[in-house]
Amino acid sequence: MSTSSVPNSSPSAAERELQDRFVRENLRRVFALIYRIVGNVADAQDLTQDTFIKALQRKDQLKDGDKSAQWLGRVASNTAIDFLRRKARVNFTEIDSLPEPLPDPSERRADEEMLRAEEAAYLDHCLEALSVRERTALVLRDVEDLPASEVAAILGCSPATVRSHIANARTKFRAIYEQRKEAQ
C-alpha cells in the first residue's frame, strides 16, 4: 500500500485568523445586500461565498477597516449584478419577479415582538414592491452609501438614469409606507 501527502502552502495561522474575522464581521451584511438584489437565498448564498473568496485574495484592499468594508460592498454588488446580467443575457432589467416568497406574516409573537415583526414584514413588503433596478439602486445608495456616480457605474447606466431609479425607489417606498399608516 502506498500513501502520499499533497504539498500544502497554507497561509500562516495569523493570516487565517484575520481572514476568518473579516468573514465573520461582514458575512451577514454582504448576504443581506446580495439577497436584496437577487431575491433568493440559494443564489445569495452562492454569490456571497464568491464575493468573499474574491475579496480575500486582494490582501491590499483589506488593510483599512472602514474602506475595506465599503470596498467589499462594491465587490458584492458587482458580483450580484453580474450574475443577474448573465442570467438575463445582458439586460438584467428583464428580471422583475422574485422567486423567493416572503415568510408568512401570520406567525405571530406576543406584544412588542409582534409589533416589531409586523413592522419588519411591512418594510420588507415596501422593498419587495420595487423593481429589481429600483431596489438595487436604493440599496447601493442608501444602505451601502455608495455615491450615485458609483451606483451608476455598477448598474451600467448614466448618472441621470440612476438618479431616476433612486428617486422612483424612494418615492415608491414612501408611498407604500404611507398607505399603511393611513390604514391604521
Binding site: M1, S2, T3, S4, S5, V6, N8, S10, A13, R16, N40, A42, D43, D46, F83, R86, K87, P99, E100, P101, L102, P103, D104
Partner: protein, 364 residues
C-alpha cells in the same frame, strides 16, 4: 490548529494500518472474496480535517451453479456520515460459475482531525441476482428490487437491439446506437435539490398534472395533486389503482416537469410503498419539496408535472417494467434516460464499434 504540516506527518504514519478495509460476506454466500485491499490511497490534510482517498478493486468469485447477473455492496465507514448509507452496484454482469470478476470502489472519506486513526471502511454484500432471477443476500438496501428491475430492463433493451440487427442489419443497429448517444448527450440536465420536509410551500399555486398513457400498465395513476412556487415543486398527493390480478407491494414513479416555455425535463423518481389488492386503490402524500434549476442557476418555473410508472413490485416478488416501446415517442426518448444496459451497450459501441456491440449482443 491549522498546522497542516504536522497533521500530514501524523496521518501519513497512521495510514499504514493493514486492516483499513474489511469485506464482510456471509459465510454461505454464493459469491466469495478472492482479494481485497486498500489499493492506492492517500491522505490529504485540510485545515482541521483530513480526507482519505481510497481506490480499491475487489476480486470476487461466483461459486454458484448459475450465471451471476448483478451484485450490490454496501459501503460504510464507522462514525463517518452517520444517518446515511452508500452502495456500489454492478448490474448487467454475466459471470459464469467459477469465474472471477472485479468490483472497483473509488472512495473518499472526510473526517475531522480528532487525532484518532482513519475510520475503517467496511464493504458488505447486500445482494446478488442470478440468471434465473433468484436472489441471495440480506437486502438491507432494497437491492433485490433494484437488481431485478435493472435485469428486466437489460433483457428488454438487448432484445430490442437484437431485433433491429436481425430485421434491418448492421447499419440500422449503427443508426440506433448513434441516436442513443446523441440523445444522451443532448438530454437536458436539471439541478434538483430536495428537502425532506412536510412544511407547505408559501405562496404556492396548483399546477397541471397528468400521467402518461401507458397501455397494459398494471398500476395506473388516477390522481396527482401538486403545487409550485416559482422553481419549487411539492407533490401533495398521488393516487393509484391496481389493474392487475396480483397484489401490489410498491411502485416507482418517474417525474417529468415542464416549464413556461414548454421545455420538458426529467426530475427524478419517486418510489412509494403501496399495498394494493387487485382492483384496489391507494395513495401517498410525499413529504418533500424540490427546487429545480437549469444549469448555471437559472430557476425553472414549473408549470406542469407528468408522472409515469417505471416499476411495479408485486407482493409475490414479481416485478414489472415498461416495455421498450414506452419511450418510442420522440419527446419521451429525448427526456427520459435509457436503462443502464443501454448506457453500457452505447459505451461499447462508442469505444469499440458495431462489431464489438454485435459480439456482445450475441454473447447473452
Amino acid at each position: 490548529m491549522w498546522n497542516s504540516a504536522a497533521i500530514s506527518v501524523c496521518f501519513a504514519a497512521s495510514l499504514v494500518a493493514q486492516d483499513g478495509l474489511r469485506v464482510n460476506f456471509p459465510a454461505d454466500s454464493p459469491v466469495s472474496v478472492v482479494s481485497s485491499g486498500w489499493g492506492e490511497s492517500r491522505a490529504i490534510p485540510r485545515g482541521g480535517a483530513y480526507m482519505v482517498d481510497v481506490r480499491t478493486s475487489l476480486k470476487l468469485k461466483n461459486n454458484s451453479r448459475l450465471r451471476l447477473r448483478g451484485i450490490s455492496l454496501q459501503v460504510s465507514s464507522q462514525e463517518v456520515a452517520a444517518g446515511g448509507k452508500a452502495s456500489v452496484s454492478v448490474p448487467s454482469l454475466d459471470v459464469y460459475p467459477g469465474q472471477e470478476f472485479p468490483v472497483k470502489i473509488d472512495l473518499r472519506l472526510l473526517q475531522p482531525n480528532s487525532g484518532s486513526s482513519p475510520s475503517l471502511v467496511q464493504v458488505q454484500l447486500d445482494g446478488v441476482l442470478f440468471e434465473d432471477m433468484s436472489f441471495f443476500g440480506p437486502n438491507r438496501l432494497g437491492s433485490r428490487r433494484q437488481l431485478t428491475a435493472w435485469e428486466l430492463e437489460a433483457r428488454r433493451d438487448r432484445q430490442h437491439l437484437k431485433l433491429i440487427l436481425a430485421r434491418q442489419g448492421d447499419d440500422a443497429l449503427r443508426r440506433a446506437m448513434v441516436d442513443i448517444l446523441a440523445r444522451e448527450n443532448s438530454r437536458p440536465k436539471l439541478d434538483v435539490r430536495m428537502a425532506r420536509s412536510a412544511a407547505a410551500l408559501p405562496n404556492a399555486r396548483s399546477i397541471e398534472t397528468a400521467f402518461l398513457s401507458q397501455p397494459g400498465i398494471p398500476v395506473e395513476g388516477v390522481k396527482a395533486v401538486a403545487v409550485s412556487a416559482g422553481n419549487q415543486l411539492q407533490i401533495l398527493e398521488l393516487a393509484f389503482a391496481n389493474r392487475d390480478k396480483r397484489e401490489v407491494r410498491s411502485i416507482e414513479l418517474g417525474l417529468l416537469v415542464r416549464d413556461q416555455e414548454g421545455r420538458e425535463f426529467a426530475a427524478g423518481s419517486l418510489p412509494a410503498t403501496l399495498t394494493m389488492k387487485p382492483n384496489g386503490t391507494a395513495s401517498v402524500q410525499p413529504s418533500a419539496s424540490v427546487t429545480l434549476n437549469r444549469p448555471q442557476g437559472i430557476p425553472l418555473k414549473v408549470e406542469n408535472l407528468t408522472g409515469f410508472v417505471q416499476q411495479v413490485e408485486f407482493a409475490n416478488g414479481d416485478l414489472w417494467v415498461p416495455p421498450g416501446s414506452f419511450r418510442d415517442a420522440a419527446r419521451l426518448a429525448k427526456v427520459i434516460p435509457g436503462s443502464l444496459e443501454e448506457q453500457r451497450l452505447a459505451d461499447i459501441y462508442r469505444r469499440r464499434g458495431v462489431e464489438a456491440l454485435i459480439e456482445e449482443l450475441n454473447r447473452q
